[in-house]
């Protein structure tokens, strides 16, 4: 046989090989989270939770190979827009998973939902996107931001506290937090303190709390602010006033707060001690892989991966059939770490909420533990404003 013909044939075969590989479709996921700055801890949990799920599924989602691209939004909304456009345009992702913060979500919402990719938020869940501005391509595996605060409001109301004092940082999420609490708490609000965003020393506010003598104290003080507030609250001897909070004593802050937070109450849709087999396996695997106790952030990211997995299986692996994938996503046919999980018409979850308490485990690590269920199959109040049905 003519050697040149053979060489030509071999070359032709080799050049076609990439096309051969491409016939085996890959699902591309772009993860956008805050991975630098003080909030990096939360972004890290989201990235790790998602990657753990993919690893558990053998590197595949819905039977297809997965390619995860991680982008850091630096907590800057306009940087997030550039990164997301890169994920959509350059990397051709099928799913954008993220972000951590509400203001970043506001920025990337339009670019993603107007593209062919689906946006799945494992943390931020603002009210506008649950209501009037809802979108068929947007799904949330966490909750609507107000709901967690409502858990504490209902608890305080049921417990019969006559007076409370509220505190939050002076930004939109802070205002939403106190509004959510007051939706269920009908007692007397002695004062609403709004602290400058990023303030770390609360001695002035703590003195005010002591002077006001409320029956309970509710706060939303995420990240480093919460770490400091809890420590200083104890140091000021205010531990006898029940400390109710949202996102203030969770797995992202407990390692720093340690004993100071033990006994403080929070609200959540899950805790690491939740009693079902998939959750227990998840907590064990996460701790083995990353050395820290997973919080709801990691859990929701894990569920996001499982959601995609279930949806792709439901759509028969046909990534290109967006309608089929969308319908399958809506069905939420996957085993959530929370047990039961379903979407409301606005693609926000309808789920149970619990009162949780910060505790020290036997092995010395800190986690939140479930005290009681506060809401059953709880949908967010904005769903009625959403036109998707």
């Amino acid at each position: 046989m003519n050697l040149n013909l053979v060489r030509l044939a071999a070359a032709a075969a080799l050049s076609l090989a990439p096309f051969g590989v491409m016939a085996e479709e890959k699902v591309k996921v772009g993860l956008i989270a805050t991975l630098s700055g003080p909030a990096a801890v939360i972004g890290g949990q989201i990235r790790d939770g998602f990657n753990l799920a993919v690893k558990t599924l053998g590197g595949k989602l819905g039977g297809l190979d997965v390619e995860v691209t991680v982008a850091d939004d630096e907590q800057k909304p306009d940087v997030a827009v550039t990164k997301v456009k890169g994920l959509l345009d350059r990397d051709h992702v099928d799913f954008v998973v993220g972000p951590v913060f509400s203001n970043v979500l506001q920025a990337i919402y339009k670019p993603v939902t107007e593209s062919s990719a689906f946006l799945i938020s494992p943390n931020a869940g603002t009210s506008n996107f649950a209501g009037k501005a809802c979108n068929a391509n947007f799904f949330v595996t966490s909750y609507q931001n107000d709901q967690v605060h409502e858990v504490l409001g209902k608890y305080a109301q049921d417990k019969g506290y006559k007076s409370v004092l509220l505190m939050a940082p002076n930004y939109q999420a802070g205002k939403d937090a106190l509004a959510g609490f007051k939706r269920y708490f009908k007692g007397e609000v002695l004062d609403e303190l709004y602290t400058p965003l990023g303030q770390l020393d609360f001695s002035a506010e703590l003195a005010k709390i002591a002077a006001a003598k409320p029956e309970a104290f509710f706060t939303f003080m995420p990240g480093g602010m919460g770490v400091n507030l809890v420590k200083q609250y104890r140091q000021a001897g205010l531990g006898d006033i029940p400390f109710l909070s949202a996102f203030t004593t969770d797995e992202a802050t407990l390692p720093a707060q340690k004993d100071d937070a033990v006994g403080f109450l929070g609200g959540a849709n899950w805790a690491p001690d939740m009693d079902n087999p998939q959750s227990k396996a998840f907590v064990k695997a996460y701790e083995a892989a990353y050395g820290s106790v997973p919080g709801t952030y990691a859990m929701q990211a894990y569920d996001a991966a499982m959601l995609i997995d279930g949806a792709l299986k439901g759509a028969g692996g046909k990534l290109a059939d967006h309608d089929a994938v969308r319908t399958a996503l809506k069905k939420a046919d996957f085993t959530s770490l929370r047990g039961k999980f379903k979407f409301g018409p606005n693609h926000y979850p309808i789920q149970d909420f619990y009162l949780v308490k910060a505790a020290k485990r036997a092995d010395g690590k800190y986690e939140t533990e479930i005290v009681q269920k506060v809401f059953n199959d709880y949908a967010d109040p904005y769903a009625k404003d959403c036109a998707l049905n």
Partner: protein, 306 residues
């Protein structure tokens, strides 16, 4: 509003002010004597806090940890001086800003790499971990009172050092006219090194002292850096006395504004408007203070006359 509450809030303001003074003192000296804009002063504060967290965890003792932190912070400051800052003394302020900004980026990231992104905490030393019941329902932590004590002692010590020792005289002379001091035969390079190292150590000390009450995390020095610059601008660059007064002013006005601002506004406005205005104004107060000071004294309260 009771007298006890007022006393507590004033103490809070004093404590914040004195802590700011510790950090500002180093910065104003570096700026005043060496005419050097060191934006990385904030990360030196952060490094002090991280070193304290590390040493206290290793040795199990707060005092031992603190004792180890001081020389290490000093050594680290000298290292930075040797590697980066030494080459920039003759340069434009803007180049110094560029280099120190780069240092901030690098060290914030390095700290995250070494110690992780999660906030760290340092346990309070046992003898200082109690509280004093200054008003019903509130324990004022003994540790904060100790901080006030340390701050005042350091202020006195610095005053004595600057005004009554030979090295202090050299520092004051260097701040007024560095070239002349050099011409008079003083090893100006060595003086710079000492000033820089000392300033770094003060910042590191502040970071270490603050670790038991504030969380230790990457970027903790950034916002404080801005506050520190506000302080030295109000006080006048190069003046320790100015830094002291500026820091106290900033600490008291910020704390008392947050504590009583809304209440005072309620005398003139409706509760909702007072609350809204109060929250918006609170973080702006120190900047308004600085603008007001600069309006009347464009070079700060105690400018060092060159």
């Amino acid at each position: 509003m009771s007298l006890a509450l007022l006393v507590v809030q004033v103490l809070n303001g004093l404590q914040m002010g004195l802590l700011l003074f510790l950090i500002a003192a180093g910065l104003t000296l570096v700026f005043g004597v060496m005419d050097f804009v060191n934006l990385a002063h904030g990360v030196q504060y952060m490094i002090g806090a991280y070193l304290a967290a590390m040493f206290v965890a290793w040795t199990g003792s707060f005092w031992l940890g603190l004792a180890l932190t001081l020389p290490t912070a000093l050594a680290f400051g000298l290292l930075l001086e040797f590697v980066v800052f030494r080459r920039l003394y003759e340069r434009d302020h803007l180049d110094q800003m560029l280099a120190s900004f780069g240092l901030i980026l690098f060290l914030n990231q390095a700290v995250k790499l070494i110690w992780g992104a999660e906030p760290l905490s340092v346990p309070m030393p046992d003898i200082l971990s109690g509280g004093v019941r200054l008003m019903p329902g509130l324990l004022y932590p003994v540790y904060r009172l100790a901080l006030i004590g340390v701050g005042l002692t350091m202020a006195l010590g610095l005053h004595l050092l600057i005004n009554h020792t030979r090295i202090g005289m050299l520092i004051r002379a260097g701040a007024t006219n560095g070239d002349m001091v050099s011409a008079l035969g003083v090893n100006i390079r060595r003086l710079f090194m000492i000033v820089f190292g000392f300033g770094a150590m003060l910042a590191g000390l502040a970071g270490a002292l603050v670790a038991p009450i504030l969380s230790v995390e990457p970027g903790m020095g950034d916002n404080l850096l801005i506050l520190t610059f506000v302080v030295i601008v109000i006080g006048g660059v190069g003046s320790i006395r100015g830094a002291f007064l500026g820091a106290l002013m900033v600490g008291l006005i910020d704390t008392l504004g947050r504590a009583f601002g809304t209440q005072m506004l309620r005398m003139a406005l409706s509760p909702a408007a007072a609350s809204q205005t109060g929250r918006s104004l609170a973080p702006m107060l120190i900047y308004i203070l600085m603008a007001a000071v600069l309006f009347f004294r464009p070079s700060g309260l105690f400018p060092v006359k060159r």
